[in-house]
Amino acid sequence: MAANPKVMTKRILSQTGHLSEVRDFISAAAGEFGFSEEDIANISLAVDEACTNIIKHAYQNAPDKEIVISVIRSKGNFEVRIVDYGKKFDPTEILPPDLRQNMAHHRRGGLGVYLMKRLMDKVEYSFQPGKHNEVRLVKYLQKSPSVARR
């Protein structure tokens, strides 16, 4: 696997201070793959959101945990897999945000999962009980429009 030129991996500790490295890593990979500036921005934002959620929720802000980010490029398919070893998560019950409610209750959150779904063509969570969680974010090279419907 390590010899496969189409897979690139980056590991970070669970600290928000590392998010910018993750964005740079993803932007470079997405740029090489041939995405537009807009798509590159959208993909790296989605990966930022996924990593932010892992830091905040899966690891509950513990700063010494590991997050493994892999980019898998196949024909027309740009896939980012993000693995963590923290609390598992099932996003099916997550509703789109209600901004007016958030504003009324000084709520800061609840935007990330919806945003990831809009920014990518596919967002899938899975977990291996007792082992790890994985989120797969996929963007198709030839897809228009650059923003997804759900």
Partner: protein, 119 residues
């Protein structure tokens, strides 16, 4: 580490925050602090100029949601201006233009504050 800076200005009773760089989960607390300070000083007429804001994630957007109610309750507002297309796109995807006044130019936001009388 992401580079993010906040600069403060004041003009005609309106408080202007210039954002520069990357606003993500790491730097969002700086913006929290800036808003908290304005509220403590009872400065409720706020423009956030995003001309030099390169990047925003939902952690940054969250800060705007957290303070808007207090600001508006005090007859003020947080108006936004000068966003790049890239930054605007993130606000737009989440429906912010339905709830926040987002202007192309800072002076339009300023005019709006001046035509609506202060509390």
């Amino acid at each position: 580490m992401a580079d993010f800076k906040i600069h403060h200005r004041e003009g005609e009773g309106v408080y202007i925050i210039d954002l520069k760089g990357y606003l993500d989960a790491h730097t969002a607390p700086d913006l929290e602090t800036a808003f908290q300070k304005l509220l403590t000083e009872k400065k409720y007429r706020i423009i956030v100029n995003c001309r030099d804001l390169t990047y925003i994630s939902s952690a940054g957007l969250g800060v705007f949601m957290a303070y808007i109610e207090d600001v508006r309750k005090n007859k003020g507002d947080i108006k936004l201006s000068n966003m790049s297309a890239k930054v605007f796109n993130v606000f737009d995807l989440l429906g912010f233009p339905l709830l926040y006044e987002i202007y192309t130019e800072e002076k339009e936001a300023m005019t709006k504050f001046k035509t609506v009388k202060a509390s």
